[in-house]
Structure formats: structure tokens, C-alpha cells
């Protein structure tokens, strides 16, 4: 896997962070480079991915859907069958294991609908680490069940009441915690966002999805897929699926949530309808107003009705 030395993907990515976090980011990068190709580390991670998370996941031939659509043979990569019900655990196990090697005693994470929070709580539970999760206040109501699951797994959930009380504010609050407890704490980011090296780490830990697809597809049809489709929110499942297939002939399609339409203010299509900007430590596409203030995303991923 390619490793961007300056943390840049073209003009994107980078490190736009408060100076207090620089030593933490440097320590993280140093350790990630040390462990990412380390045999024992990989073996240990592989063990947890198989025995705890339930890898490999099936590549399921959706016969009825394929017939109904009447075109391609459609296969579903069943990441939903993993422990916790989402692909998120691929990354949380990788990062939590790394944090353990770094002797970090406390893990913090952000979560939107709660999937990453649950996956963080699960990884920390199995590795015997303490975790605290920041979750937008609105989301704690919309996804109460996930709050229960995190609590049951031993994780403390902090409802975030600042800003729009959703994911972006949960990230802000997690970063504020990290600035305050920089020495003791590991910030476990779940999306392909944040300052370098987070996007690279998330990509690498999630690439197990695409790697498995390659092997499974080869077995099924002796070739790579013609088309790969993934939904794009924070981007972790998409990059994990796409990255190993980028150099094949596969056509790659990312699907963003259009909500009430790209012309309305109610969507979360940052790549299709956003513009370049700096937020959460990186240069990326953002939904923002004409002056560079970040606007709220709209998504039904956390719940189909709105909470005030």
C-alpha cells in the first residue's frame, strides 16, 4: 500500500491541527509505521479479525435482486455480518491494538449513528482498554440502543450539546478532549478523515474488505469485479472497498446521500455538491456557506425523523 510521506493526497489531507496535537500525531505516525508491517502485529490483528469480528465475511450472490434488476450479477459484501453489525470493527481493532502497543491507557472516539462507537467499545472491551465516546446529543436520542450497547460494553458516552449536536460536533469535542489529555489518550477516529496519518490508517485497516472481494470474486468467476459500488459518508467502507481494486479494470462508483435533493440544503453529498475547505485537521470537500462556515449535513442514517 502506498504511503503518502507528507500526508497529502494531491492537495487534500495534510495536518491542519492545533500545535498541542503535533507531538501526538508524530508519535502516532512513528508507531503506525513501526507496526503496520510488523509480523506479530499483523498476526495478532488477524486473529481478532477472524475469531472476534468474524472475518472473512461472505460475498453473497443476491440472486433475487439480480433477477429483478435483469442486468449484472449482483454480489453483496456482507460486512453487516461482522460483530457489531458494521465494517467499523476492522478499523477499531487495528487502531485499538496499535494504541495498546503505544501504551495508551485511555481511548476516545467520536460517533454519529453509533456504529463506530459500538465498534470502538467492542475492540476496547476485548483488549481490556478504557474507552469514552463522544456522540451528538441528537444522535444519542435517535440511536438510544447504540448508547445502551456502548454502556454495556463498558464505554462511557458523552452527549455533545455544542453546535449542531451531531457528528461534526462530536468530532470537535473529541479533539478538544485530546488536546486536554494529549499524553494519556489515544483518539480512535472511525472515518477516512482527520489529520495525517488517520486517513491512511483507516484506509489500510479497512482494505481487508476489498482484498477479500478480490480473492472471493476470483474464486467465483475467475476475474475481478466489473463494477464496485459503495456508499460514501465518512468514507471508511468506501475506501476500504475501493483501494485494493483501484488498479484493476473495475469501474468504481461511490454513492452519496442526496437527501431531499442536491439543490436543497438537506443532503450530505460533500463530494458531489461540496467545495474545498479545511476542517477537522484536513483539506477536503465540505458543505459550507459562501463565507466558509460549515453547514449541517442531512442524513437519515441515524434516524428517519428529526430530533430537536
Amino acid at each position: 500500500m502506498k504511503y503518502p510521506k507528507d500526508g497529502k493526497f494531491g492537495e487534500f489531507g495534510g495536518k491542519y491541527i492545533p500545535e498541542t496535537l503535533v507531538p501526538a500525531i508524530e508519535e502516532l505516525e512513528e508507531n503506525y509505521l513501526k507496526f503496520k508491517d510488523n509480523k506479530d502485529f499483523k498476526k495478532e490483528l488477524d486473529y481478532y479479525l477472524k475469531q472476534y469480528a468474524g472475518r472473512p465475511t461472505p460475498l453473497y450472490y443476491a440472486k433475487n435482486l439480480s433477477e429483478k434488476c435483469g442486468g449484472a450479477k449482483i454480489y453483496l459484501k456482507r460486512e453487516d455480518l461482522l460483530h457489531g453489525g458494521a465494517h467499523k470493527i476492522n478499523n477499531t481493532l487495528g487502531q485499538a491494538l496499535l494504541a495498546k502497543k503505544m501504551n495508551k491507557k485511555r481511548i476516545i472516539a467520536e460517533t454519529g449513528a453509533g456504529q463506530h462507537g459500538v465498534a470502538t467499545a467492542m475492540a476496547c472491551a476485548v483488549l481490556g482498554m478504557k474507552s469514552e465516546v463522544y456522540m451528538g446529543y441528537k444522535d444519542t436520542i435517535r440511536q438510544k440502543l447504540n448508547v445502551y450497547r456502548m454502556n454495556m460494553l463498558g464505554s462511557k458516552v458523552h452527549p455533545v450539546k455544542s453546535g449542531s449536536k451531531t457528528l461534526k460536533d462530536a468530532i470537535n469535542e473529541a479533539i478538544r478532549d485530546w488536546i486536554t489529555n494529549v499524553e494519556s489518550t489515544y483518539y480512535l477516529l472511525g472515518s477516512a478523515v482527520g489529520p495525517h496519518p488517520y486517513p491512511v490508517m483507516v484506509r489500510d485497516f479497512q482494505s481487508v474488505i476489498g482484498e477479500e472481494i478480490k480473492v472471493q470474486m476470483k474464486k467465483i468467476s475467475n476475474k475481478t469485479p466489473d463494477i464496485v459500488i459503495a456508499c460514501v459518508g465518512g468514507g471508511s467502507n468506501a475506501i476500504g472497498t475501493f483501494y485494493p481494486l483501484v488498479d484493476t479494470n473495475a469501474e468504481i462508483i461511490g454513492v452519496e446521500a442526496a437527501g431531499k435533493g442536491l439543490k436543497s440544503k438537506y443532503h450530505s453529498a460533500t463530494l458531489s455538491a461540496g467545495s474545498k475547505g479545511v476542517l477537522h485537521g484536513m483539506m477536503t470537500y465540505l458543505l459550507q456557506d459562501e463565507e466558509g462556515q460549515i453547514t449541517e449535513t442531512h442524513s437519515i442514517s441515524a434516524c428517519i425523523f428529526d430530533v430537536d
Binding site: 491542519y16 492545533p18 500545535e19 498541542t20 503535533v22 474545498k276 483539506m283 465540505l286 466558509g292 462556515q293
Partner: protein, 267 residues
């Protein structure tokens, strides 16, 4: 020479240190901002930092977060902000520093934003999420136009402090504590150590200002005694603005400012 550099030169001649005050423009409204600024000047503030609100102020604590939200809700936009700066400039020649987040400048374009700021009367910038690694275009745009004030932290390495100091002009901002703005942790030994260390590394080539959680005359005294060239007080002023009725505001701000400024003057 920039207004900020002139100010520090003037203070050195008077054997004084600088008191820098931060307020969020438009919090809770424009009229209050003007009144507060008059109070700050009467109280003897040396430099004023003007906060421009950002929707996601990740280096700020609850006080400035709240002020940002209210200021945005009050419709503070870039042009209105510049108009307020021009109004302030009609009344005073005090150095004015704009504190906001990178995206605000990036979105308009660094050269354009900096040129317009300069025209309105801004002398320098503080961007808490701008790292030196990403600062090339920002620095090129600000060169000979405005001072670029970078931040260092108590955990910043010596070689990094040297690099950051080279990119900084006006003064170097030392973050006093691990945390966001306005946190109250009391005077930490590591802060005192950091002030001495940063002063040693920078060898007097650039003034060092200490901010984050500085809120009382005693804080000011301790940091000045440790060797700081300036102290920055922010959240404490916003709290005072929040609780003081408008008709008493100018007097109360003047009195509080005087109590802080006194500690920067050698007796």
C-alpha cells in the same frame, strides 16, 4: 514596521510588558463590542485581538464557543466584521489582530482575505489550526502585509519552536495549558518551565505572549515574572461582558483591564 512591532518596541523602551485582550466581535452585539473596546483602551490594553466566529472552533472552550455561536446568529459576516474594524480604526491606532480559523481565510482565498483585512485595519492573524507544514500560501500572502502569529505549546520540541518562531512575526503565542481556551487549571509548573524554555530558544528575537486560561491579575503577574513579554486574556473578558449591564460595561472593563495591566508594569 508593523503596528505590533512598534508597540513592542515602545513597551521595551518603557520597560513594560504587553497586555493583549481578546474579544469576539458581535458578542453579544455590535454595540457592546464597541463599548468593550473603548473600555479596553481606557484601561491600558496594548493590543486587541478580535475574534471572528467560526462554526467549528475546535481549539476553544465553552465560553468562546458560545460567543461564536451568538455572534454568528447575530449575522456577523466578513464584510460586517471589516466595517466594525474600520469603525474601531477611526477611534484608535492600537494594533488589531484577527483571530479565527483557517477555513475562513482559505475559503475567500488567502491573498484576498489578507488584503481586505489590511485595508480595514487589521495588523496580524492568529489561526489556531494553521500548522507550519500547511502555511506556505498563507505566509506568502501575508508577507509584508500582516504579521503571522503562530502558536507553540508546552509540548512543542525545541527544533519545532525554532522553525515556528522563524515563520512568526509580531509575537509568538505560547499556549499556557493542555486544553482549550478559557480552561481554569491554576498556574502549572510546566507552563512556567515552558515560558523560560521558549524565551531561551527564541533569544529575544521575537516577543513571547502567553494565553489560554489567563484570567486574573495573579496569572498575569506569575507569567510576566517567568519571562513572558505579553499575556493574552480572552474568556475572562467575555464572561465580564456577559454579566455586566451595558450602562456599566465600559467602566467595568476599564477597571478590570487596569487591574491586569498594572501587573505588566515594573514597579
Amino acid at each position: 514596521m508593523s503596528r505590533i512591532k512598534e508597540k513592542f518596541a515602545e513597551l521595551v523602551a518603557k520597560k513594560e510588558k504587553a497586555l493583549i485582550a481578546y474579544i469576539m466581535v458581535g458578542y453579544p452585539n455590535e454595540k457592546t463590542t464597541m463599548t468593550a473596546i473603548r473600555g479596553l483602551i481606557k484601561g491600558g490594553t496594548d493590543i486587541i485581538e478580535l475574534g471572528f466566529p467560526f462554526s467549528d472552533p475546535l481549539a476553544d472552550g465553552p465560553v468562546i464557543q458560545n460567543a461564536s455561536m451568538i455572534s454568528l446568529d447575530n449575522g456577523i459576516k466578513i464584510n460586517r466584521f471589516f466595517n466594525i474594524v474600520k469603525k474601531i480604526r477611526k477611534e484608535t491606532d492600537i494594533p488589531l489582530v484577527l483571530m479565527t480559523y483557517t477555513n475562513i481565510l482559505y475559503h475567500k482565498g488567502y491573498p484576498k482575505f489578507i488584503a481586505e483585512s489590511k485595508k480595514a485595519g487589521i495588523d496580524g492573524f492568529i489561526l489556531p489550526d494553521m500548522s507550519i507544514e500547511e502555511s506556505k500560501e498563507y505566509l506568502a500572502s501575508a508577507k509584508n502585509r500582516a504579521d503571522t502569529i503562530f502558536l507553540v505549546s508546552p509540548n512543542t520540541t525545541k527544533s519545532r519552536i525554532e522553525r515556528i518562531a522563524k515563520s512568526s512575526s509580531g509575537f509568538l503565542y505560547l499556549v499556557a495549558v493542555y486544553g482549550t481556551t478559557g480552561v481554569k487549571t491554576g498556574i502549572q509548573n510546566y507552563t512556567i518551565k515552558a515560558i523560560k524554555e521558549v524565551k531561551k530558544i527564541t533569544k529575544g528575537k521575537i516577543p513571547v505572549g502567553v494565553g489560554f486560561g489567563v484570567s486574573t491579575p495573579n496569572d498575569v503577574k506569575k507569567y510576566i515574572n517567568a519571562g513572558a513579554d505579553a499575556v493574552i486574556v480572552g474568556s475572562a473578558f467575555l464572561k465580564l461582558i456577559e454579566k455586566t449591564p451595558h450602562n456599566k460595561l465600559e467602566l467595568d472593563i476599564t477597571a478590570f483591564t487596569k487591574s491586569l495591566k498594572r501587573q505588566t508594569v515594573k514597579k
